[in-house]
Symmetry: C2
């Protein structure tokens, strides 16, 4: 029993399963089909089968230890009671209409908490879009096409299921995936404090990305963040001015961003300012080694975007060290008579030597992190070979900001494949580097 039942359920019951397309109980069935164990559509008023699975009258007739509850809030307590009686270890409650709406809802949610406790049952939600673990073919959600989201090495834990879903799809659209995504919703008995330790132990997860609105037991939250060995990137949404709207959503307590940032400062938890930054920072941290320091080498094929990157990094506390004499000599030799060979190195336009320039800067002991910017030209391509060698021989983060016509996509994905994170706008690359610098914890 417990959170791990979300990872390796021995049979899944879909309570309130439906044959009718567009109904929540049908959407949940479409997503769960990829699960290779037993699936039990539970619905006393349905007969026959849905997607090849025979309907059963009650969860009592199943061997499921995970239940996806697709029923409206008023009947949730009874359904959950039956789950407990049937030996279900974990349940997902999609329905809204609980603590986030009114006092009746708060009573309903209290029942959910009590029943979860009584049967030692882990409850995700209520008021959540669910969860998914692509590498286990588990898509416990009613959101159509969530099963298109592929496997990656970042785990998303979102207080809002909607944010978890939209973030997963944004990862997917940019050709990445997730190791897991959990939408917490109202957090009856499963919140950050329960999930972070499990994801910290998950070999598929190299970074944990959090969307936070507010947490009741904030000390427990800080505790698990401090104890996690897996890097954590957090985006705190929901300002005090919006308290009414925020509370109406997940009943989250109102807490300001500063409380979180100040408490976890120097603990290796990185805070970011948007969903896009949350995804970019998580990918960069998951895919690259922890930098030894904040000394950044910038190599750009076009000075203007290089200035933008240096400017953003400068505002966020990065340092641009002088290259050591050997490096400088090598760069000057490669860039005869070119504008600006000191860090930031500006090659003026893409050149056949571009990869060697990156190589020289990346091997410089003064440099902890390398960020590259280049507008793609088909005749030259990106310096994929040099970067592959560097990713094997140099234990530093090397990030590549891509630009140009769509034709760079193939080489972008090649670079991603051997651990060079890529970013599609100058500020996105710069913010990812800033996140890497923030990820250096005091005790590192």
């Amino acid at each position: 029993m417990g959170v791990t039942d979300f990872f390796d359920p021995d049979g899944i019951a879909v309570i309130g399963a439906s044959k009718t397309p567009g109904k929540l109980g049908n959407d949940a069935m479409t997503n769960i089909r990829s699960y290779d164990g037993d699936v039990y559509p539970v619905n006393p008023s349905s007969s026959g089968s849905v997607y090849g699975y025979e309907f059963v009258e009650s969860v009592a007739d199943t061997d499921a230890d995970l239940a996806l509850c697709c029923v409206p809030s008023p009947v949730v307590p009874d359904v959950l009671e039956e789950c407990g009686e049937a030996g279900v270890g974990a349940a997902v409650i999609f329905a809204g209409g609980f603590a986030e709406v009114d006092e009746d809802g708060q009573e309903l949610e209290a029942d959910v908490v009590r029943i979860g406790e009584e049967y030692d049952m882990t409850v995700l939600g209520p008021n959540t879009a669910g969860y998914c673990i692509p590498h286990l073919d588990l898509y416990g959600s009613f959101v159509p096409q969530i099963r298109e989201v592929e496997t990656g090495n970042v785990a998303l834990v979102a207080q809002s299921g909607g944010v978890g879903i939209t973030s997963s799809f944004q990862f997917d659209r940019e050709e990445y995936g997730v190791s897991a995504m959990f939408g917490l919703g109202n957090r009856a008995n499963t919140g950050f404090a329960e999930l972070i330790p499990v994801l910290d132990d998950d070999p598929q997860t190299d970074a944990i990305a959090l969307h936070i609105e507010g947490t009741e037991d904030i000390d427990a939250f800080f505790e698990v963040c401090r104890n996690a060995e897996t890097p954590i990137v957090a985006y705190k949404a929901g300002s005090e001015d919006l308290s009414e709207f925020v509370q109406s959503h997940t009943g989250a307590p109102i807490q300001d961003r500063a409380t979180y940032e100040e408490t976890l400062a120097g603990e290796g938890v990185v805070f970011v300012d948007s969903v896009t930054e949350l995804l970019d920072a998580s990918r960069a941290i998951a895919d690259t080694p922890t930098p030894a320091g904040e000394h950044v080498g910038v190599v750009t094929a076009q000075a203007g975007p290089g200035i933008i990157i240096a400017d953003e990094l400068n505002e966020r506390g990065a340092v641009f060290p002088d290259l050591d004499d050997d490096t400088q000599a090598r760069v000057d030799d490669l860039l005869q008579g070119i504008t600006y060979t000191e860090n930031p190195v500006d090659t003026g336009r893409p050149l056949p030597e571009f990869g060697q320039v990156i190589d020289a800067v990346a091997r410089d002991d003064n440099v902890d992190i390398v960020i590259v910017y280049e507008i793609y030209e088909d005749s030259l391509g990106y310096p994929v070979e040099e970067l592959e060698t560097l990713s094997e021989e140099v234990d530093k983060p090397i990030l590549f900001t891509v630009a140009g016509p769509d034709s760079f996509e193939e080489e972008r994905l090649e670079m991603e494949a051997f651990g060079i994170p890529t970013f599609q706008a100058p500020e996105r690359g710069a913010h990812a580097v800033a996140a890497l610098i923030d990820s250096i914890s005091d005790d590192a």
Copy 2:
């Protein structure tokens, strides 16, 4: 003669044209082929033809009034002199190695300025990637595939050609285009003050996007911005700390962002903080009516992302008015028993009634701007019909933040086609709304 020669040249000379792929003089030829007038590859040491155009010995042998100079800096003055003698009205100088590098370069650039003046010749650059005007099939640049950039209604004027190019490609990747793109480089005699008035008069241009590093005649810059009737969005890059790198690039004077923002405050010029925001804000302002005020109606199908949007807008001075009684009654009727029907309106999940909810909020007199958020579900799709009607009947900005699997792309482009700007991340939609609010000038 003058800037307009960039728009309707009567014959184009490519000086230093080459048959060798990868050479700048060859790349420029590949791009200029789409021009339907006479093209003259000029190269005394080449014979025969390139891409079907016969080589000529000298610009004197041509009737060109636009010259693309693909020659290295030392010979630029002589080449420019010949252009002047040949009656060329406008020239683009791609080469670097002028005022941005050293004293010799400064002398070379002084020659360029002098010759331009002597022959009343408009010079773009030196040290620029050039320009393009897609709706006129004019691609005066050496950057391969710039000719893939299609026609849009935003004109980009970038102090850095590289930023102009990368911004144009970013527009193109998101299925937009540009009305024109000019990379200024060193601004021998063509800068913001010369181009903004011309673009202000350009019927193809509905908004002007500026990338600024620093301008010599800042008063002239402020003057043209104040006088322009076309909305202007500006991104000022290059902080004081980076002066050496910035100056080495375009020899731009060091000016801080505040100087620009304070001087143009209330003049209807919108300042943004990144390239992505520059593109998003320009599109939103180009495609929607100027809002009557800062009262924003938020309609979201998922509360979490709605909170993020409201949060971002709240920080940027937006106001979320109460809906008037009739609107509220209509919304409540549409959303029986749903979480949160007041502004921000949260429908809990996508519904068939979603479009009617947007309709109700958009027609509310208390609302000046509408921002919508919805994760796409194939079974429901986006409320395209309702939005098309609204775009015809309601004279307010309506923005739509899209999310979900790629399958929304078709309906996203439909909405774009009838003037509903779309954005692919919550913060991008919020920042676009903030830009619309900033675009309300004091005298509006």
